[in-house]
């Protein structure tokens, strides 16, 4: 089983590299994993879109909020896990999807139940999203679906690229200054695809500090903040409401969907499209002091 999956994954990767349609190396229906366990929010979001519910053994307890923001109800009735290695024994999956790092115990227990682990890296570019979609699609036995999602995502991105903004807006994703997405983040890729420049994009930074003073001096043309979609209360929402920010950016704040900005997903392209719409609808900027 594991060997078949590995061959399928290698085959899909080789086919993609050679430009052949991935469908040519799809494993037969009998080798598709039928008890897939996802141990990471981002892989939850991928598996919920790629695989019928009946083949999902469990998703993480965080999946509900993510699904609610992107595709409400898609997770209904699916058992939950808390990302612990012990749950591998109780749920006995035949495929495990995990984030960048899985613990030694997770790997040992996975070996014990005979389930391969697919480690899915954190996507920070749209190329990364294509790569992980194909990787997960091949692993779960749904490469055509994955390829169709890549095509839809690319069509959205191509639409945006075909109609570039005359002048890129200078923006920053700011909800308080303690963790602002930098260059190596999917937020940065979304902002650039939407036709803007992330002014907090420092080389090699995923997230970094960018305090209110830096914000005032940099004078971005719009502030983006997480909170579009159902979110639980947090200090972030309050921090982004500093009175000087309200005063200067009251009508130039744009909410984005947190999930599509934290996990590289096909929806990240839609997020870029939504951002472009919001940029185009911004009122004229008043002169800053």
């Amino acid at each position: 089983m594991r060997r078949a999956l590995r061959i399928a994954a290698l085959g899909a990767a080789a086919a993609a590299a050679l430009g052949f349609p991935a469908v040519a190396v799809v494993p037969s229906a009998t080798v598709k994993p039928v008890r897939i366990m996802s141990m990471n929010l981002c892989t939850d979001m991928l598996v919920l879109q790629l695989v019928p519910k009946a083949r999902i053994a469990s998703v993480t307890y965080l999946a509900h909020d993510g699904a609610l923001a992107l595709f409400p109800g898609a997770d209904a009735g699916i058992p939950l896990n808390h990302g612990t290695a012990e749950e591998i024994i109780t749920q006995r999956p035949d495929l495990i999807l995990a984030g960048d790092y899985s613990t030694a115990l997770t790997r040992r227990l996975a070996k014990e139940v005979g389930a391969p682990i697919i480690e899915v890296k954190t996507a920070v570019t749209f190329d990364d999203i294509r790569q992980i979609l194909r990787q997960v699609g091949a692993a779960v036995g749904e490469p055509e679906r994955a390829e169709a999602m890549v095509r839809r995502m690319d069509a959205t991105l191509a639409g945006l690229a075909a109609h570039p903004r005359k002048r890129p807006l200078r923006v920053v994703a700011w909800s308080g200054g303690d963790s602002v997405p930098g260059r190596d983040s999917i937020s940065n890729a979304i902002i650039e695809a939407a036709g803007a420049v992330n002014i907090a994009a420092k080389p090699g930074s995923t997230y970094s500090t960018f305090d209110a003073e830096q914000l005032l001096v940099a004078q971005p043309e719009a502030l983006l903040y997480g909170g579009g979609g159902p979110v639980h209360p947090s200090l972030r929402t309050e921090d982004g409401q500093h009175r000087i920010v309200r005063r200067l950016y009251g009508d130039r704040r744009i909410a984005f969907n947190d999930v599509a900005h934290n996990c590289g997903l096909p929806q990240s392209a839609q997020s870029a499209y939504d951002l472009r719409q919001a940029f185009d609808a911004l009122p004229e900027q008043r002169a800053h002091p």
Partner: protein
């Protein structure tokens, strides 16, 4: 240096720290521009930086630092214990717990005063619990305070365990390390009335502390109502530190260190440590805050981390000093 000059020296250190905090930040603005920004009614980048960002941050640091310094001095005098500080009575942790519950349930979004009020309720609740179990003696009060601290920390950890989402958990963790960043006049308006009321109560405790330095029995014979004074101290610490913690998060060590730094200069008369401890507490917190601003790290360096890094080695100094002075 004589004790008479100590408050002036502490005040001068504080004034210098305030001036430094107005001129230093992540962004370099020339001192002339900042002064012009302060004086001029016109809106300029420099005036916004100084009046809306640096000045409120400095004012809040002074209020919070003074609360911690004065509370530490009062508690060390009242409990006659050199390790006493607001955290010892569970008050600081109680405030943090109240504030975290307010964030957890989204009360702060529904009602802006919810976080400081819940912080205050947590601080006073923890204080009442400490007093209810610890009344009757200094040692029992300290033991009860430790127990309440332990319980509030455990409940805090429980809240972190069941945080509604990973960000809330991360933020609650950050909350426990303290920060003055992104604080505005709105936060000061919320917390200042409670802090000032608490400081007012604590400032009246000098005579009791002097009487207590003779021993509990002697203080009682001088007409000091010890139970009433302990309640007042708890109320004062609860109001001041509770409101401070609910706005800035937990900040340790200032309350412990400030009174020890001024004590050698004021002749060990407890009442004379109060004002200098408040002033020096404010100055220490401002200096720690300036440090967090100037060290440009990828993740924000939290205030509680700086005060801890400076404050914890202070214990070694305290141990060495006790060993030298012990008979």
């Amino acid at each position: 240096m004589t004790g008479r000059w100590t408050p002036w020296v502490a005040g001068l250190v504080l004034a210098l720290a305030v001036v430094a905090s107005l001129f230093l930040g992540r962004v370099v603005v020339s001192p002339m521009d900042l002064v012009r920004g302060l004086m001029s009614p016109d809106l300029s980048l420099a005036s916004l930086v100084v009046t809306e960002l640096r000045l409120p941050r400095a004012v809040l640091a002074v209020l919070v630092g003074a609360s911690l310094g004065l509370s530490g001095a009062v508690l060390q005098g009242l409990l006659r214990n050199p390790l006493a500080e607001p955290g010892l009575l569970g008050v600081g942790n109680g405030a943090a717990l109240g504030a975290v519950i307010s964030i957890y349930f989204g009360l702060s979004q529904a009602f802006p005063l919810a976080t400081p009020l819940m912080g205050l309720a947590g601080a006073i609740g923890a204080g009442v619990l400490t007093f209810a179990f610890g009344r009757g003696g200094t040692l029992t009060l300290i033991l009860a305070g430790s127990a309440v601290s332990g319980i509030t920390l455990a409940v805090l950890a429980l809240a972190l365990n069941f945080a509604p989402n990973p960000y809330a958990g991360y933020e609650m963790n950050i909350w426990l390390l303290g920060s003055l960043s992104e604080k505005s006049w709105d936060h000061i308006l919320l917390a200042a009335p409670f802090i000032v009321a608490g400081l007012g109560i604590l400032a009246t405790m000098g005579r009791t502390m002097d009487a207590l330095s003779l021993g509990e029995v002697q203080a009682k014979s001088l007409g000091v109502d010890l139970d009433r004074m302990r309640v007042l101290a708890l109320l004062g610490v609860g109001l001041a530190v509770g409101a401070a913690t609910s706005v800035t998060g937990s900040i340790g060590f200032i309350g412990l260190v400030a009174p020890h730094l001024v004590r050698p200069f004021v002749g060990h008369q407890p009442s004379r440590t109060l004002l200098p401890s408040a002033l020096l507490g404010a100055a220490l917190l401002l200096m720690a805050d300036i440090t967090t601003r100037l060290i440009n790290t990828q993740s924000e360096l939290r205030l509680g981390v700086v005060t801890g890094l400076i404050g914890a080695p202070f214990f070694f100094w305290l141990v060495l000093r006790l060993r030298k002075t012990a008979p």
